[in-house]
Each structure stands twice: as C-alpha cells, then as structure tokens.
C-alpha cells in the first residue's frame, strides 16, 4: 500500500520529475532560455530541501526503493552535481545558436534516473534508474550535433552503452534464474540457499560488466576519452560526476549486501580491475594533449582508487567511498566547469586542447586559480579535498592489508602528479604573442563563474577542515544496511 510516508519519501524524486514535466510543457508553450534554467534550478533546489525533510523523517523502505542513509547520500550527490552542471549549462548554452531549452529537460530526466538508481533495492528499479540516467545522456552528448565530434560521441555512447546494458540485463536474468527473486536482498538470500554456483558467478560477473562500463573501469573504459572530448562540456561533466556517482553508489549497495559478491573470486577480479584501472588510467593520461581527454583518463584512474573501497567492503569502506566520492565530485565539477566556461558551442569545438590553456593565468587569473586548485586536489596535495580522499583510501587499503592496491595507488598518484603538473605549468607559462580561448568577459558575474569559484573554495575548505563532512559521513554510514 502506498502510504503517506511513502509519498513523503518519494517527494524528492517526484519534485525532480515534476520539474522535468514543467520544463517540457514550458518549452512547448514558449521558449525562454533563462526561465527554463531558472525553473530547473528551482526544482532541483526544492528537491534538495525536501531531501532534508525526508532525511529527518527516517528510513522508509518499499519493495522497489529504499530511502536509507546511503540513498540520501547518493541523492544529495546526484542533485548537487546536477545543480552545478545545470548552472554551467546556462553559461555554456548562452551562445548556442540552436535550441537551448531541451538540454535542461534531458538533464533533469537523467537526474531523476540517478535518484531512482541510488535508492533502488530491486533489480527492476536498478535497471529502470540506470536507463533513465543513460538515455537522456545520449541526447545530451549529441546535443551540439552540428559539431561532428559531439554527434560521434553521442552515437558511440549509445551503441556501447546499449551493449553494456544488454550484459547487465543478462546478468540480472541469470541471477534471477537462480534465486527466483528480483529484490536485491531476497535475490541474494535465494542465491545463498541455492548455492549459486556458476550461474550466480556468471550473473554477478555480467552485472559487473554492465555497471563497470558506466563507471569506465578498465577494460570497459574505451568510450570514456572519446565521449568526454566530443560531448558538450556540461554533458561530459554530468557524465563524469552525477552519473558515475549514482552508479557507484548502487554498486556499493549491491556489494555491501550481497554474499554473491563476497566470493574470493570476485574480490580478486575486483582487485585486479582496480589495479588495472588506476595504472592504465594514469598511464594513458600521461600522453594526452587535450584537457578533456586528460580529465577523462584521470576520472578513470580515480574510480580505480574508489574500487578499493569495494574490494575491502567493510564498514569503513562505505565511509571512505562517501568521502572520496564527495572530494572527487567537487574537484571534477570544478575542473570541468572551467573547461566549460572557457568553451562555447558557438565557436566550434570546445576549448580543450592543452595549448588553449597556455598562460591562462595572465588572461584569466581567477579561472586559472580555480583550475589549479582542482588539479592540486586531483593530485592529492595537502590542504585540498583530494588529499583527504586519498588519505582515506590509502588508510583503508593499509588497514585491510591490500598491499598491491596500496602500491597501485601510490604508483598511480606519482604518475598523476606528473601530468597534473604539466597542465599547471602550462597555465602559468608566459609566451608572447599567444592568444588562447577566453571566457566571456563578465564570466565572474555569471552563475557558472560563481559556481566554479565556490567549488574551488569548497575544495580548499574541505581540505582544511573536513570534520563536518566526515561526521556527516560517519552518521550516514554508521548502521550498515
């Protein structure tokens, strides 16, 4: 029965969906870029506020969705990332000659998908959420379709994502065939009683492929750099932040509750993938001359680090994953935000080649400073959020005695340091006669500029005084569900 408690818990999702509908009908009625952006942002903020109310009301569980602390964390992350992406989209699309408004619609739909995904405790909602998250992304990536690369990235993501989704579904089917259940907890209980065996392993493996694809874990990462480079800035940002965070949280939930995932074989596979991901991601980032590609590979590497939390999979792992996700999101949003602000679909391809950024500091000191802070954080330098995240991950690996992974994190970070530095040095180079791509003059006034500046400050604030977030995280994750 649908009770008022259920309705209450569903409010954030409903609000986001309602916003999407409002935006859509609004577009049908009259196209107005600023108003569309405003309505979207308003809706997301309302959802965030309602999330607080839901959180204070306590856990609610329905057969399909569960609103516990982990889902709350996921929803906050998804909503906050979407908000940032939306704000940047406004700056980005301002100069776009085509239709601007549908982008918001797509992003809102994807956000709703992400929220369903993080709260799902049933394979049906998991699949539904994942698809609702991915489908709009195809459109978002190909949004500036007159640019060949954008179109290409959309199609690439569509085809590969469809293949990965097929594996995911197949894995679900296999698990279902063994347990006869689709709710995750029941499914796993069923597996335990029936012994699982090869079927369950194959199912779990295939699901891992499907979800690993979305997280761009090596060797399922091939799409990442192409898509990041080609897609419009805000779409790539959304893909790298909200989408990945949501998928990771649901993977975390599965791994945490699932005995099928506690077989040593899978742990070995996960550990191997983690190691491979951090090393390959970092190594390939080393040779990139395009900032968006570089950030793409770096995000691959970061999810390699995050996988360590899944391999360890104990109480502290959730807290670590939460903290690392938060630091990753802040930083990535900031870095991609700068790229987005410097690009405009009006003037062709996004400004992402490294040489666009030569001497940026001398033209746009604040933007360069923001980017520097974000890169430092990605490299895990003290007094930035990235350091706290790295600290937690290394501590987790050390505590669990996963020496190979700790070694991988260290080796990966060293390589990382090297290429982040290369970008940073580029920002401050003085070379006469260079005139790179510029952000619009009043970028600081625009919401997007305020957002990236705020993100940079947040990165530093979190690096210096992370206690509130850490406390929040330990409260969020204290009773492991």
């Amino acid at each position: 029965m649908l009770t008022s408690a259920h309705m209450m818990a569903l409010t954030p999702v409903i609000l986001v969906c309602a916003t999407a509908v409002t935006v859509m009908l609004g577009i049908a009625w009259r196209r107005q870029h600023a108003a569309t952006a405003l309505v979207s942002i308003l809706g997301l903020n309302l959802a965030l506020v309602s999330l607080y109310l839901v959180y204070s009301a306590g856990d609610v569980s329905t057969p399909l969705l569960v609103f516990d602390r982990l889902s709350m964390l996921g929803m906050v992350l998804v909503l906050a990332s979407t908000l940032a992406c939306l704000t940047m989209s406004h700056a980005y699309l301002e100069g776009y000659p085509g239709r601007k408004e549908e982008f918001y619609l797509l992003m809102l739909c994807a956000a709703a998908g992400g929220m369903v995904l993080v709260a799902s405790q049933h394979l049906a909602t998991l699949f539904f959420g994942l698809e609702l998250l991915s489908m709009p992304l195809y459109g978002m990536l190909a949004y500036t379709y007159r640019d060949k690369r954008s179109l290409e990235s959309g199609i690439k993501y569509l085809v590969l994502s469809a293949a990965a989704t097929a594996f995911l579904l197949f894995g679900m089917a296999l698990l279902y065939s063994q347990s006869g259940r689709l709710d995750i907890a029941g499914l796993l209980a069923g597996l335990e009683s029936s012994g699982g065996g090869a079927w369950a392993l194959a199912g779990a493996g295939l699901m891992l492929v499907g979800l690993g694809f979305k997280l761009s874990i090596v060797p399922f990462h091939l799409w990442t750099p192409d898509v990041y480079q080609g897609g419009p800035g805000p779409a790539a940002t959304f893909l790298a932040t909200a989408s990945k965070a949501a998928v990771f949280i649901v993977l975390l939930r599965i791994v945490m509750v699932a005995p099928a995932f506690h077989v040593e074989w899978l742990h070995t596979v996960l550990g191997g993938l983690a190691l491979l991901t951090m090393i390959v991601g970092n190594l390939l980032a080393l040779i990139q001359t395009n900032l968006k590609r570089l950030l793409g590979y770096s995000s691959i590497a970061h999810f390699g680090y995050l996988l360590v939390a899944l391999v360890v999979a104990d109480g502290l792992a959730v807290e670590t994953a939460g903290i690392y996700l938060i630091t990753y999101l802040m930083t990535t949003l900031g870095a991609f935000g700068v790229v987005t602000l410097l690009s405009s679909p009006y003037s062709g391809e996004d400004a992402s080649a490294l040489h666009h950024y030569r001497g940026l500091f001398w033209r746009r000191p604040y933007l360069a400073a923001v980017l520097t802070v974000c890169l430092l954080s990605l490299a895990g330098i003290p007094f930035t959020a990235g350091f706290i995240g790295k600290f937690y991950i290394v501590a987790l690996g050390v505590e669990a005695g996963r020496w190979w992974l700790v070694g991988g994190i260290i080796a990966g970070s060293v390589i990382g340091l090297y290429y982040y530095l290369r970008v940073m040095v580029t920002l401050y180079l003085v070379e006469p006669g260079m005139r790179g791509r510029d952000a619009p003059d009043n970028w600081g006034m625009k919401a997007g500029g305020v957002v990236v500046l705020g993100l940079a400050l947040l990165v530093i604030a979190f690096g210096v005084y992370p206690t509130p977030v850490i406390d929040w995280m330990s409260v969020l994750t204290s009773p492991v569900h």
């Binding site: 509908v21 859509m24 009908l25 577009i27 049908a28 009625w29 549908e102 199609i155 690439k156 085809v159 590969l160 293949a163 990965a164 594996f167 197949f170 089917a173 296999l174 065939s177 006869g180 090869a198 079927w199 392993l201 194959a202 493996g205 295939l206 891992l208 492929v209 060797p219 399922f220 091939l222 596979v269 190594l283 390939l284 080393l286 040779i287 895990g380 330098i381 003290p382 350091f387 790295k390 600290f391 501590a395 050390v398 020496w403 994190i409 260290i410 970070s413 060293v414 340091l417 090297y418 530095l421 290369r422 040095v425 180079l429 003085v430 005084y465 992370p466 206690t467 850490i470 406390d471």
Partner: protein
C-alpha cells in the same frame, strides 16, 4: 600557542611580503626577514627548558576523526633544525636581495621562500606524524615552484618536475608508511609512536612500514638510487639551491630518520637498509662531484655525498654515530650554504659557472675567495674547521662497526675513499676557480667583488664554521647535547667535542685522505681521461627517457586499443566481458533442466525457420534499408504468431498492432536516410564479426536452453487464477491493464500523453531538408497519393473503426481491449494520412488531436475518482452483467469506462506522434503543392 605561531609566521609573511614588491628589493627583503626574526625571538624563551632536557608539546585539536591534530613539539632536535631554517633563512633573504635582478618577480620569490620556510618549520616542529606529512608534501610543492622560478627555461621546468615527481612520490610512500605506523601504534602522536618502539619493531608489519618510511626519507634526502633529482634541481636560483637543496629541505629526510630513530632504528633491517644506502650514496656522490665542471653541479654532488654520509651514520645504529650524524647536519649546512652563496656570487660576477673558464679569480675578488676557500677547506675536512670534527667522528664510528669477517674493512675503506674524493673536489673548487692561470673568455670581464651586503651572509656562515671548528664545546656544545638527547630519546653517552683526540687511527685516516686527495687532484687529468672513457650518464636524460618510454608504451597501447573506432570498442567490450565470465560459462556447459526439451512440431519449426531466416536476412541486407525493414516486419509478425501459437492471443494482438505503428514510424524516418549504404567493412572484418556473433549466440543459446528447461514460478499464475473473480474478465492482459494494475496504466497513459505533447511541441518548429532524390539519384514521384490506394483506404476507415469498437467491447474477456482498439483506430486513421495526405485528412477531422488525449485522461481519472463516491479507495473496480438485445449477455465493468480513457489517449497520442513526424515530411517535400 607559541609553536603554532612560529610555524604560522612565515605563512603570514608569504601573504604580506609580495605587497612590498613595488617598494623595491630592499623593502621586501626587510619585510620578509621580519617573520623569521620574530620567530627566533619567540623560540628564545624556551631555550632554558630545552637545555635542561625538557620537551614542549602543544596540541590543538583539528581533525580527530582521522587522528590529525595541530600538535607541535619543541625539543633539542627540532630546535636545532628550526634554528638552521630560521637563521640560514634570514641570511638567504639578505643574500637574495642582491642576487635577484631588479626586473625579476621578487614578490613571488620572497613569498615562495617564506612559504617554504613555514612548511619546513612545520615538518620539524610537528608532533603529529600526519601533520608532518602535510608539511612534507608542501615543501615538495614549494620546492617545485622555486626550482621552476625561471619558468621560461625548459631545463628548469623539467628539473622541477623531476624533483617533484621523485619527492612527491616518496611522500606518498611515506603517507602509506605513516598510516601503517599509526595502525600499529593506534595513534599518530609522536609521543605515542616513540613510546611504542618495541611494539613497532615486534610487529609483523614492521618491514613494510620501515621500507615505506625510508622510501620517503631517501627520496627527499636524495639517497641512491633517488639522488638524481638533486643535481638537476640546481636550475633554481642560487639562493634557493643554498637554502633548500643543501641546508634545509634535503635534510628533511635526515630529520625524519632522526625523529623516528628511537622508534625504528636498532634492528638488522634498519642497519642494512640505511647504512648500505648511505654508503652507496656517499661514494657515488663524492666520485661524481670530482668530474663536474659546473660549479653548482660539483656542490650538488658533494651535497649528495654528504647526505649519504649522514645517512650512513644513522644506519650504523650506535648512539655515538647518531650524535655524529646530528653534528654533521649542522656543519654541512653551514659550510655548504656558504659555498653555494659563494658560487652564486661568482656566477653573478662572471656570468658563468663553468670551472674550465673561471680561473684565477683570486686577483679579482680576494675577499670572496678567502671566504670560499675556508668553507671549501671545511668541506674537505681540514683541521680547525667544523667539517673536520664531524668527519673525525665519522671515521671513528666506521671503525667501530662490528661487521663479520672481511666486511669489517668495508666501512672504513669506503669512508677513507670518500674522504679522498672530498679532498680532491674541494681542492679543485679552490684551485681551479681562484688560481690556475687566467680566466678564459668570461661573459662579464673584469669580475669584481660583489656588493658589500651580499657577502655578509657568507661571512657569518664561515665565521660559524671557524668558531665551531676551534671552540666546539663553547659554540655548539649545549645545542648539540640537547639535540642528541632528543634524537636518542634516552641517556646520551659520553662524547667529547675536542679539536684533536690525540694521534689515533681516525686521525691517520684523515691524513691519508688529505694526502691522497691532493695527489688525486694533481693527477686529475688522468682521472678525467679515465672518466671520459665511460659514457656520461645524464640522469635527467635517463629519467626523461624512462618517462618517454612509458609514454611511448602508452601511445602504442592507445593506438591498438583506443583508435576511436566504435567497432573496435564493441569488439573489445565483448572480449572483455567474455574474459570476465569465461569461468562460469564454461563450467555451465550443455545444461538441460528438469523439464526436458519439448517435442518439435511442424508449424513451430517452419515459423522459427522463417524467423531465423528473416533475422539473418535483415542483418545481411541492412545496407538496403527498405528491404531490411520489410524483413524486420516479418520478424515482428512471426513473433506475434509465436505468441499465438503458444496460446497467448492477447499478446499476439498487442504485438501485431504495436508492430504496425512501429513500422510506420520507421518508414517515416527512412525518408531522410539514403536508401542504400556502400559496403565498407573488409572481408576479414565481416568474417571476424560473424564468428564473434556466432560465439555470442551460442553462449546465449546454452543459457537460454538451460533456463527454459527449468520450472519457473512467476506472478503470472496469480493473475491467471484471479482475473475472472477479481477483475471480471478472462483476458488477463486487459484485466491487468485496467484493473490489477489500473493505477500503473493511468500513469502510463499520462506519460504517453505527455510524450506525445512533447514530441508535438518539439517538432513543431523543426525544419528538415529532405533529400531531393532517392539514393540512386531518381527524383521522388510527383504523384504523392496514388489513386488506387486512396480509393481503397477510404472504405477501410469505417470498417476499421467498427473492428476496433468490436475489439474494444469484447476486450475484457477475449483478446482485445482499449489499448489494442486504440492502436487499430490510429492505424486506420494513419492510413488516411498516408493515402490522402495531411491536409485532406485534417480538413475532415472533426477535432484536433489534443482533444482525444485530454478527454481520455479525464475519463480515466474520473473513473478512478468515482470510486471515492462509493466510499472505496481510488480506482476500485466493480462489474455486473447485463443482457443486451442483440449481443446477448454482456459484462459491464467499471473498468470499461477506464478502458475508454485508455482508448482515447492511445488514439490521440499515437496519431499526434506520427502526424508530427509526417508533417515534417510533408513540409519539406520538394513540391509543397503536390497534394
């Protein structure tokens, strides 16, 4: 609070100092020197406590969750280092005032210098290992910025990057090591760690922790094999080299070893790892230094060698050796910093640092020459200078090592040999630069003495060398004692700071080194020739080559795997998936479940053969889209028939009507696509893809087989059993739609309506240019609406409407229902559109398309709400049977009204979607008047 303040002061200075940049170099130098001077003054009151063996610990909470606190500790060791940092820092600030040129960015320089000073103070004053680590990483970063201060030089940028990559990487290893120590001890506070020495050494994790910590220390202090970054850091301005890369930062690793000495040292592992590393560094540094023609290069390698010496002393593990190590830290800092400054002066005044060119400077700058010669003599270990004292202690300790058998000779021999080289390169520094004929081709000629104040820092440091050398007990005794006490964290053994301990073996070694060193210098040309036979190893080139090799691998990897080809990505994705699931799938095998295989009959066989054939055909003919589409529609038809065959006529009907609408939709899209695509894939590729598809299909087959032959229990049984009594209908699909899942259906038709509206709105203003001809270049037929089709379609409409009414009415019990009826109506109307054109059809349509959608939704919702009127929850259904005159017994369910809503919405929405797309086609037709 004082200690936190001491650390904070330089950071504040770093913010404030650049403000004075406009006021000139003197102003900013004065402003920058204030923080260290104030810090020194702040430290002074604590001296009495420390001299008495006290320790000052001040703790403020910061991040208790991760064990990080702002706790600072002042004891003899940290005081010693703090003094070095602050005093030499002030001198460097003064020196840099004259070293930097007017046009250079002095604000940035002083700001970074102070930033470094603060971070370095942070390292030595931290009492929390994590806090120390944070400052540790900060020094690496600031050092990077300082080395690349002249960032227009590519060498400087590369050297800086290499330095940061090595030291930063070491820092990360240290992070892991510190976390491990914290794990063993349960706290990161230094007091707890030092107190838990026995626990640490007994722990099974001790080797790992020790290795990681030492990795951090060795990289920072440029120990072999990580020593290569230091010489290349010499691209930095000389004040930076003097301050960071000889006096302070490179001592951070040494400091760490001293700090953790009580906790980690004293084991076999420590002995072998530390002392052998130190020995190798000592020798390699000393040897290489001799052959460097660059003044700063010589000093850099000599620094490496001396750092190795200190490390070796710590590695020996005896208390006296540790004291000697601490002592040598002071001595090395004083003489090496002054030598660097002297080298900077020479560079400044002559414009070059190449020792083959700068000769005979004694005549031009006797004052500087005297200072440099005293400092170099100290470096060589000449008596009455401080370098001699610690070197004597070192020789003595090298003799005291109790290594087994012949190994006992190794340390003293290495020590003497290094001493020989040290004397030789010191002699070279003195003789080559200040004597040895006339200068050759100097960029600045004639050189002269630097400004008065530039020499003051050198003078002070050289004075310190002499003072310590002549009156060691007076000049350094108490401080050294306090530092030794803190290092050993226990009783200090008796040691004597006297100039000569009498004629003994260490003194003999000194003399031997001295004599042989001078001899070596006189015969230097032979050694140079000997050295020249070997290929010079340029560490930077090696490092860069290693990096570029890695880059090359990565590039090749990318070329193979990530060449941007979507087909390859899909292939790799498939292969990767196969790799992940190969184990379970192979163990699955040919698995037939308990139900067994059902018998094969003719219709099913024929049907499935057609199905397979058409699917294959569609794949094979995909380049000719129209045919592919036709084959695809056959596939859809066969699926519908399969449903019918397996007794699901309702599903079959639904599938059929959905199929028709989908195909119409696809046909509309087809219009914009070329009708034919050239063949692009090579033969190899097609075969490869076919094989992959076959493999994937076989796997699918195995799993499907295994799954279908097992008993399956699903919710459908419940629906089958309850549909008549619960919903009053025997068409389960329809009952599910309008009754069991009525709420869902209401939601779904709402979505459908919204989607239709959305498509309508978005396509309203879209303009597509249609190709003027088809793929082969034939122009489109001008006869848009063939007469025969037109004539046939018209009578079809009422017929279809009747059929749909029939299907609608019988829907609750027989295959049919509102959804299918809606689709049939929509198809019939679409046929009119196709046959007679949009305009014609619209003129005859009594309503616009939004109306049925809205009406349908309204009716469906109203039906749901109506149940409130009878006191039941939303959408409760009821049914009764009535007798109609012609039809006979007829069941009237409240769900029927709901079904009408569904019907209307489906008709409206489907039409709206198709018509919007069709309108596009119409609008872009070449001849708009064709219909």
């Amino acid at each position: 609070m004082t200690l936190a303040l001491v650390v904070l002061l330089p950071f504040l200075g770093a913010i404030v100092a650049p403000l004075f940049a406009q006021a000139g170099r003197t102003a900013i130098a004065i402003a920058s020197s204030l923080p260290p001077i104030v810090a020194l003054a702040a430290l002074y009151p604590h001296w009495s406590t420390l001299a008495a063996g006290g320790v000052l610990v001040q703790t403020h909470e910061w991040l208790p969750a991760i064990g990080l606190s702002l706790s600072f500790r002042l004891d003899g060791l940290s005081l010693l280092f703090a003094l070095l940092i602050l005093v030499i820092g002030v001198l460097i600030i003064l020196y840099a005032r004259y070293y930097l040129k007017k046009h250079e960015n002095v604000g940035k320089f002083y700001s970074l210098l102070l930033l470094f000073m603060g971070s370095m103070l942070g390292i030595v004053l931290s009492s929390n290992l994590l806090l120390m680590l944070i400052f540790w990483e900060l020094t690496s970063v600031v050092s990077f910025l300082l080395i690349s201060f002249w960032n227009y030089k590519q060498d400087a940028r590369r050297g800086a990057r290499m330095a940061l990559a090595v030291t930063g990487g070491g820092g990360l290893a240290l992070l892991a090591g510190v976390l491990l120590l914290g794990q063993i001890v349960g706290s990161y506070e230094l007091d707890d760690v030092l107190a838990a020495a026995d626990t640490i050494k007994a722990s099974s994790l001790y080797p790992v922790a020790l290795t990681l910590v030492l990795l951090g220390a060795f990289t920072k202090s440029a120990q072999f094999p990580f020593h290569f970054w230091l010489p290349h850091a010499m691209q930095a301005p000389t004040p930076v080299s003097a301050y960071l890369h000889s006096a302070t930062m490179v001592k951070a690793g040494i400091f760490l070893m001293a700090r953790l000495y009580p906790a980690l040292a004293g084991t076999e592992l420590w002995f072998y790892m530390v002392s052998f590393t130190g020995m190798a560094t000592l020798l390699i540094g000393a040897y290489t230094a001799l052959f460097k023609h660059d003044l700063k290069g010589l000093l850099a390698h000599s620094t490496v060698s001396h750092l190795g010496l200190i490390t070796l002393l710590f590695g020996m593990g005896t208390k006296l050796a540790a004291i000697a190590a601490v002592f040598h830290v002071i001595n090395h800092a004083t003489f090496k910093a002054s030598l660097f400054m002297a080298a900077g002066i020479i560079d400044h005044e002559t414009g070059t640092r190449d020792m083959r060119r700068i000769n005979g400077l004694w005549q031009f700058m006797p004052h500087t020459a005297t200072l440099a010669m005293v400092a170099a003599a100290s470096m060589a270990g000449v008596p009455l200078l401080n370098g001699f004292l610690s070197k004597e202690m070192f020789f003595a300790e090298s003799l005291n090592l109790n290594l087994p058998g012949i190994w006992a000779y190794l340390p003293p021999v290495v020590a003497t040999l290094a001493g020989v080289f040290a004397v030789a390169y010191s002699a070279r520094f003195i003789h080559d630069v200040f004597f040895n004929g006339k200068p050759v081709d100097l960029p600045i000629y004639p050189p002269h003495e630097p400004p008065r104040y530039m020499k003051i820092p050198v003078e002070i440091l050289v004075f310190a060398c002499v003072m310590v050398g002549v009156f060691p007990t007076f000049a350094i005794g108490p401080l050294l004692y306090a530092a030794a006490e803190a290092t050993l964290a226990g009783p200090v053994p008796e040691y004597h700071l006297t100039i000569v301990h009498g004629f003994n073996l260490p003194l003999l070694m000194s003399f031997l080194a001295f004599f042989l060193g001078l001899l070596m210098y006189t015969q230097r040309q032979r050694f140079f020739d000997f050295h020249a036979r070997f290929r010079e190893i340029d560490e930077k080139a090696v490092f860069e080559a290693a990096v570029s090799r890695v880059v090359e691998w990565a590039r090749r990897f990318i070329e193979v795997l990530e060449n941007g080809s979507l087909q390859r990505y899909v292939l790799l994705l498939l292969l990767a998936t196969l790799a992940v699931t190969i184990v379970p799938i192979t163990s699955l095998g040919f698995n037939v479940g308990s139900l067994g295989i059902s018998p094969i009959d003719l219709p099913t066989t024929v049907g499935s053969l057609i199905l397979i054939g058409c699917a294959l055909g569609a794949a094979a003919m995909h380049r000719e889209r129209l045919y592919a589409l036709i084959l695809l529609s056959v596939v859809g038809l066969m699926v519908a028939l399969t449903f019918a065959r397996f007794s699901a006529p309702d599903l079959a009907m639904t599938q059929l009507s959905v199929e028709v609408v989908t195909i119409v939709l696809l046909m509309l899209a087809l219009y914009y696509l070329p009708s034919w695509t050239p063949r692009e894939a090579s033969l190899f590729r097609r075969w490869r893809d076919a094989i992959i598809a076959l493999v994937a299909g076989s796997g699918m087959f195995l799993i499907t087989l295994a799954m279908l032959t097992r008993p399956l229990d699903s919710i459908s049984r419940y629906f089958l059993e309850n549909s008549v009594e619960g919903g009053g209908g025997s068409n389960v699909v329809n009952v599910i739609l309008v009754d069991f899942r009525g709420f869902d259906t209401l939601g779904e038709i709402t979505v459908l309506a919204i989607a239709a509206l959305g498509i309508y709105a978005m396509l309203r203003e879209t303009k597509l240019t249609a190709p003027p001809t088809d793929g082969q270049g034939h122009p489109w037929s001008t006869d848009a609406h063939p007469t025969i089709l037109k004539q046939i379609s018209r009578p079809l409409l009422p017929l279809a409407l009747m059929v749909s009414a029939f299907i609608f009415l019988r829907g609750h019990n027989m295959p049919g229902g509102g959804f299918i009826a809606g689709l049939i109506t929509a198809v019939a109307i679409i046929l009119q559109y196709i046959a007679s054109g949009m305009t014609w059809s619209h003129q005859r349509m009594p309503f616009n398309l939004q109306t049925p959608v809205a009406l349908g939704l309204f009716i469906a919702t109203a039906t749901g709400l109506a149940s409130f009127a009878f006191g039941y929850p939303f959408l409760t259904s009821t049914f009764s049977h009535i007798h109609w005159p012609v039809v006979g017994d007829f069941e009237l369910a409240s769900a029927m009204a709901f079904d009408i809503g569904v019907y209307l919405t489906v008709v409206g929405a489907t039409l709206m979607i198709l018509a919007s797309l069709g309108r596009l086609t119409n609008q872009s037709e070449v001849k708009p008047g064709a219909y």
